[in-house]
Amino acid sequence: MNLVKPDLLLTGLFCLLGLLSVDVMAHGVDGADAAFMQTSGAGALPTWIYLGAKHMVTGYDHLLFLFGVIFFLYRLADVALYVSLFALGHSLTLLAGVLGDIRINPFLIDAIIGLSIVYKALDNLGAFQRWFGIRPDTRAAVLIFGLCHGFGLATKLQDFSLSPDGLIGKMLAFNLGVELGQLCALGLMLVLLNAWRAHGFTPTQAVSANALLMMFGFLLTGYQLSGFILQP
């Protein structure tokens, strides 16, 4: 008999993610980090890498989406492929958004990110096949939602009047940090997922996990849409 029940493990993971994010990332970047971002010149690239990594590790929306993406991936090559597609997507729009000063309402983009989690949970539940008879190409979907997630990262940086001094270098460093943070988070998720699979991964548990994921997706979407409506 297992000491830790897999569904408890999963619940624990979600709670951990929730706790991490509560005070760190409500919607963007906290005080000291923000002050650094606004005053930093061309130097201090390691700090930008660190901030990128911190942003990813504490950004529960990105993490939940990634969790949904890797939920049914067993081969490392598949994990690498999907995560690369996601990284490619969000790198492109993070850089294009900040450097090209493309501004999208952060509440709307975060609502789309919430919907991306709903999409992936439904996809994992086989909903598209069942409802529409076809399943959208998951690679394309991951790339497209990667683009949305990148705009989400960009809008958070654009809240600050970033010094244009060495901006490309700083953004590349931040982006590198995002990828490194993503790898760390992914590593942890894979360890937990594999432990769960090794202990037997019942269809019921898979359904519950994705239902919970979908619920978080809906909740995030509702949270952000309310913000869009309520905050001027």
Binding site: F72, N124, A127, N210, F218, T221, S226
Partner: protein, 181 residues
């Protein structure tokens, strides 16, 4: 070779139930906890009941005094003087955007004056203004104003004494120009 599944398989009914349940739980959490805690909107009164709305009240209290105002206009400073004969009144005004700050210090050399520090909104009707600081006999005053609206903000001094006085006003802050109407 056995291929692991790439999605969970549910009956149509099970799928629909799962989706609706997820949506329902999300809406329930949204309206009972998230809206009251994050935005201070409490349609069901649960935020008050559970006390999560305190988060909202506290964050407003903590945020407002330390809130940074980021200057987008030009930072200016001026010193102007004007002489008021007995019975004479005059105004100096700064043209400002809403929320812009201005720091000021003025002195009256020769005797106390009546002062009305006030502002006129950009499209205000003639004679319509808001007083910030009224005083009948002052020889100096200083402070800081965050313009409550876009328009002109300034001082009206009146010499109610029997000798001429000289007013010297120094300002610094974010305003377009300081002028005498």
């Amino acid at each position: 070779m056995h291929t692991p599944p790439d999605s969970a398989h549910l009956s149509s009914q099970g799928l629909l139930k799962t989706t609706l349940l997820s949506l329902l739980v999300a809406l329930l959490l949204l309206f009972t906890l998230v809206l009251p805690a994050e935005y201070g909107v409490d349609p069901l009164g649960t935020g008050r009941l559970l006390g999560v709305d305190q988060l909202q009240v506290q964050s407003q209290e903590v945020d407002s005094p330390t809130r940074l105002w980021r200057g987008e206009g030009i930072f200016k400073s001026d010193t102007l003087t004007l002489t008021l004969l007995p019975g004479q009144g005059a105004e100096l005004k700064a043209v400002m955007e809403a929320d812009a700050p201005i720091s000021f210090h003025w002195t009256s050399d020769g005797g106390p004056v009546h002062v009305d520090m006030h502002g006129e909104a950009e499209n205000a009707a003639p004679g319509e203004y808001t007083s910030y600081w009224l005083d009948d006999a002052r020889t100096a005053a200083s402070g800081n104003l965050r313009a409550p609206f876009k328009g002109t903000h300034g001082w009206y001094w009146e010499n109610r004494g029997d000798r001429a006085v000289t007013i010297t006003l120094s300002t610094a802050g974010f305003y377009r120009r300081l002028y005498m109407p």
